[in-house]
Amino acid sequence: MSLDIDDYIAKEVHACEYTLDDYTTEPARWCKGCGAHGALGAVQRMLRENNEAPENVITVSGIGCSSRFPHYLKTYGFHTLHGRALPVSVGVSLARPEMKLLTVMGDGDCFSIGGNHWLHTLRYNINATVIILDNEIYALTKKQASPTSRQGTMSNTSPRGSYLEPLNPLSIVLGVTNLSFVAQTASWLPGHMQATLDRAWKHKGLAFVRILQRCPVFMPDAFSGASAEFPAQFLEHCSGITPDKGILRNAPTVAHDPSDINAAQKIAANAHKDLEPLGLLYLNTEVPTYNEVRYSHVQQSDKFAKAELLNQYLDSYAIGNPNEEG
């Protein structure tokens, strides 16, 4: 086969065929300063870097401010129900394994109403990048406590401060079997966020990415106001994510081998009292995806072979014939 020079240039030289505009539908309607803007930009840059054709990407979301995401990203999208983005993602993933799947949810969406799907879909290990925009509050419904709201958060359903310790999503995720990828980043660290999304995108299996997300309208003080004071630590390892610290330049860097589940669980368990970990907490590239597990048992055949087989099954229910299959 001769090498066509135009093909070569198209493939190798112009690695990015697409511009950011190719991934943009309309100006996003989130509030000024909302962390979701940053996350959308990081996703768009990541898609461009990966040279993804927009038509080959499916973005599924739930309901919430964060879940408006697909409307602003020019891919195929499904803006589903509050809490239910993951089941729809499972269906999409089973139906079209050749497509690239991005699932976007909020903290209430994923950890509260969608909690059951959250646990089980992690275990299925579908091939998808799953991002949670965690602003520690219910924003779309105008400020009610979320499972990740810090104790004492003033909200419309907890006007004297929220009562319980927050849920620790990282600890929960790290207790699920078949887990393959867990990372955390923050919406005000564009470089780190993009690097994290890129790793997640390239991962085969379910890449769970929690993005700490600013909501300046309802939670201006969360994450120390997304200032340089936010108590965080960057996880570093040769197989991890490069700590592009941005505004958190003074945050410490700690060595963490993401293949070590016990170490990851320990870091996660201390996150709230200690320093929020940023980077790759856990990675296991060996876990088969749900499609691999299920379709390895499935026979592929043409319609005539299927018809023949169905005829055999029907015959096995014929009266006068021995019922072999029934």
């Binding site: 499972v90 999409v92 799907h117 026979q299 029934g326």
Partner: protein, 622 residues
């Protein structure tokens, strides 16, 4: 093997209803299935009804433990479970009592019971046994107390196993069926597991046969159907499973729930060979979500459930309707509300299927009326769901799910078994909701097609798929989605009327009660009664011409297995009376004063019940 060897009288019968009941786990269900299978293979018309306790291991020797099978065998095609039982084989007196308590037995029923309980150590058991049998005899039953356990022990040292096959042997002799056919089925059941088990069961079956030859001076014979060519016998859930394969489905997303689950068991058994998978989701919400995601992305998927699961699926139904994603949802009805009567039949989900989704969510609701229709309705449902971008709910029920019936073997259309996706670039200007202003119909753009990117959403949206909050846009979307039902309705025919198309009384039903209603109407018509029947398969949209058809009868009455207030009950007035579910819809849609009969016995409708309804109504009309 020869039939009865000493002098016996063989009585020719048109049909008989035979029951086998035991404690759960003692094998009466397997015995019933085996006997039914022999009858089916010998060409008899057939309908079986499972007798199922709700618990897996209920306390033994109680009425709650009764488990078994009810088999209606006949010399003509059989469409329902029939009336009262003619012959019952009971492993113990409590199993028998449970059948008396459910009013299942004919007064002159033949009872065969193990006499071991008459000698039991427990005086209470001895006393119960005697009282129950004496009572039955006094009412006209013919009771055979037989040493079944003792006889089994001669062949099998552990008689707690295999007694059921002894009983099958007895029944084969009693109904002059071929013993070898019974052996064949034993081999099919156990052959793969162990040859020793096959031999033991064959020995027991043969012993039962010989014992019956020596015991009964009168045996029965039921001729085969006139035409037994090309028939299959299966239950409704198997028919749904095979029908789903025939329809070209490639994914079934479900969460276990009785009585729907066995359809998924069947699919789990063979779906992978057809390129399909059964996804057992974490709950029913996820199950429908997976099916919606799959259909939207281009792989045909369905979800199967029963009442409580249907309740959990309501919000997703709304999303399905709003995003115009094709979906077939099979709901195998059981008794409700809440956990209700989980293993028993009821037709109580009709209004929930139609209306439980908040907001206006027009959808298609159809109901198979026979096991044959359980098969054929699946390709039909898929076709409607895709052509109309609609949610189609298929309402089966526990009676169809577990009953078994003979029907014409379906032919397979290979063209439904391939699924090729159009991945061509989308022409500029194509809209994801390109509603035809007349019909509301549009084509979905499948993900992956270049230049077609759009976002499905549960929010109100424009033809371009863009979120919109303006009143005109909302009105348009609602109109378009509703219009599709009217378009579908325009393609339907007025349902066939069984009997004359005018007369004194029209009985209207839907779903699995068709067999019993039509049988009753046929018998009453044979007596000269001017009664006819109609079964409505499309409940949303209702077929055209109902008002006109109803107008030709002095009275129209819906007969359903769901609750209605009895007009004679305290506090019930014509204004506050709650009607059966189909009657409610028919009244509102036709403005005809449709009356109703609705009961929730948890058991299939009997033709004789319908006959007595007809007789009472005809009396009132005169």
């Amino acid at each position: 093997m020869s039939k009865a060897t000493f002098e016996t009288k063989i009585t020719e019968l048109d049909e008989h209803i035979v029951e086998i009941v035991s404690d759960a786990g003692e094998g009466a269900q397997a015995a019933g299935n085996t006997f039914a299978e022999v009858c089916a293979r010998s060409g008899n018309g057939l309908w079986t009804v499972e007798i199922i306790p709700s618990e897996i291991q209920p306390p033994p020797h109680t009425t709650g433990s009764a488990s078994g099978n009810r088999i209606r065998v006949g010399n003509s095609p059989i469409t329902n479970g029939g009336d009262l039982t003619n012959l019952v084989v009971a492993f113990n007196e409590m199993a028998l009592l449970s059948r008396i308590q459910t009013d299942s037995l004919a007064p002159d029923v033949t009872v065969i019971i193990d006499d071991m309980w008459s000698r039991h150590d427990d005086a209470q058991i001895r006393q119960d046994y005697r009282e129950i049998l004496d009572d039955l005899s006094a009412k006209g039953a013919k009771v055979w107390e037989l040493p079944i356990e003792t006889e089994c022990q001669r062949v099998a040292p552990d008689s707690t196993r295999g007694k059921n096959m002894f009983i099958v042997g007895m029944l084969l002799c009693l109904y002059n069926k071929d013993l070898e056919a019974g052996f064949t089925i034993v081999d099919e059941m156990f052959g793969a597991r162990s040859q020793a088990i096959v031999e033991m069961n064959v020995k027991l079956m043969e012993a039962g046969y010989i014992f019956a030859q020596q015991t009964f001076a009168e045996t029965y014979s039921i001729a085969p159907l006139q035409d037994t060519d090309n028939l299959v016998a299966m239950n409704g859930n198997t028919a749904i499973a095979l029908g789903s394969v025939a329809a070209g489905y490639e994914l079934c997303a479900m969460y276990p729930i009785t009585p729907a689950t066995s359809a998924s068991h069947e699919l789990s058994d063979f779906f992978e060979k057809f390129g399909g998978i059964v996804h057992q989701a974490e709950d029913e919400i996820a199950a429908i979500g997976v099916a919606v995601g799959s259909n939207w992305a281009g792989k045909p998927a369905l979800t199967i459930t029963s009442g409580p699961g249907l309740a959990l699926k309501t919000e997703f139904q709304g999303l399905t309707v709003m995003s115009e994603t094709p979906l077939v949802l099979v709901n195998v009805q059981r008794g409700g509300p809440s956990t209700g009567l989980p293993t028993k039949v009821e037709q109580g989900d009709l209004l929930a299927a139609l209306w439980a989704t908040p907001g206006d969510a027009p959808k298609v609701v159809i109901a198979p009326s026979s096991i044959e229709e359980c098969y054929h309705i699946m390709p039909l449902a898929r076709k409607i769901s895709e052509e109309f971008r609609a949610l189609v709910i298929v309402l089966s029920d526990a009676n169809l799910a577990t009953g078994r019936q003979l029907f014409k073997r379906p032919t397979v259309n290979p063209d439904l078994l391939s699924n090729t996706l159009d991945m061509s670039p989308v022409p500029p200007g194509t809209k994801p909701f390109d509603w035809d202003p007349e019909t509301g119909l549009s084509q979905q753009i499948l993900p992956g097609r270049p230049d077609g990117m759009w976002v499905a959403t549960g929010l109100n949206h424009t033809p371009e798929g863009k979120i919109n909050y303006l009143s005109a846009s909302n009105q348009l979307g609602m109109t378009m989605r509703s219009r599709k039902l009217a378009v579908l309705q325009s393609t339907l025919k007025t349902p066939e009327i069984f009997g004359d198309d005018s007369g004194d009384l029209l009985i209207v039903g839907w779903g699995s009660t068709k067999g019993a209603i039509w049988e009753a109407v046929a018998k009453e018509r044979a007596q000269g009664v001017k009664v006819s029947a109609m079964n409505i398969q499309f409940i949303s949209p209702l077929p055209p011409g109902l008002k006109e058809a109803f107008g030709k009868f002095k009275k129209v009455m819906a007969v359903e297995l769901n609750y209605a207030d009895d007009p004679n009950d305290p506090y019930i007035t014509p204004e506050n009376r709650r009607y059966t579910q189909l009657a409610t819809i028919l009244r509102s849609n036709t403005l005809v004063d449709v009356d109703c009969w609705g009961k929730v016995p948890g058991s299939p409708l009997m033709p004789q019940e319908v006959r007595s309804i007809i007789q009472t109504q005809i009396e009132n009309i005169k």
